[in-house]
Amino acid sequence: MAATNAMTASITKMQESGVRSQESEACTQDTGEQNSESRILNPESRIPNPKPFILLQTTDEDHHVARMAAVALGLTLLEGAIPSPLPGVKPGLANIVTLIVLVRYGWRTAVWVSLLRVFAGSLLFGNFLTPGFFLSLSGALISLLMLSFARHLPQRWFGPVSHSILAAFAHISGQMTVVYFWLIPNAGLAYLLPVFAAAALVFGILNGIIAARFLKDN
């Protein structure tokens, strides 16, 4: 943990020095170098004072959220490689990250990580704004809503396993609602519900145990 913090600090320091070096370069343009920056800073440009590039000010927390979302994304990709007996039945490994973030850094960070994972994951898989994307999004939103209540359960008796199971059930109920009211308005959908519920239970318990293990080890 200390090592990663040091890394974050060094990144921020590098970015700060980067800003300074850009500014100093802007003052002394006549270096003769033909790199991309000097082309942007062309004195014949009609745009007065062109900025070399936009540098977003990021905090340590942003880096942390990004790192966690990246881990979640990796798990999502990994999961995509696992064959599934029934479309829609997935272990939801990325939710392990959400569970850990929820306990360690709170609900707001968990929302960030979860939604970043949904959006970036859909871009990676190429299903942004397709029905599949809206299914993940609805599942994630309902789960987060459920977690916002579940995390207030007394910690002495309820751990990540409870959070995981509750979120998994919320996830499938959100998805089934979207499927029923938007994609397949057919009562026959009810016959799949026991399968999805059983999957939610099994994977909810497993993910919860994995998350609890990580939380206890560190």
């Binding site: 359960l153 007394p154 002495r156 008796w157 309820f158 751990g159 990540p160 396993v161 409870s162 199971i165 509750l166 059930f169 308005p185 057919n186 009562a187 026959g188 009810a190 016959y191 519900l193 026991p194 519920a197 059983a198 939610a200 239970l201 909810g204 318990i205 919860g208 145990i209 609890a212 293990r213 206890k216």
Partner: protein, 123 residues
């Protein structure tokens, strides 16, 4: 090996949700999925239609025409010339074995699944 990670309340949640899964399975899977409707007129099979797509069917009988509607894997008699309208008031039929009979007009709708569990059901 997993046990130290599951707390007392977690066991409660696991038990409750297992109960929920069992309940869902029992309620949603025991009533056998009806997959077609057998429409009879005057004792003879008039048509056998799958429940998979929505449609309305007009069935002629001695008193007039009965309209049968199929929607969302359910079937009902939407209108009928019978005086007491028993079969219309019966509403939607959903499970295999359910039947609506319009006696005066000699029209009936029966839902059947892949295999027949009962000769008839009455309420």
């Amino acid at each position: 090996m997993f046990l130290p990670y599951i707390k007392v309340g977690d066991w409660l949640i696991i038990t409750l949700s297992t109960g929920l899964v069992i309940y869902l399975t029992l309620t949603l899977w025991t009533g056998e999925l009806a997959d077609k409707a057998v429409i009879r007129s005057g004792g003879k099979v008039f048509r056998e239609v799958p429940l998979s797509h929505d449609q309305t069917i007009a069935v002629p009988g001695p008193l007039g025409i009965s309209i049968i509607a199929i929607e969302h894997r359910r079937a009902r008699i939407a209108s009928d010339p019978s005086p007491r309208q028993y079969c219309v008031r019966q509403g939607w039929l959903q499970q295999a074995g359910e039947i609506a009979i319009c006696l005066p007009n000699q029209v009936s709708v029966e839902l059947v699944g892949s295999h027949k569990r009962y000769d008839s059901l009455n309420y």
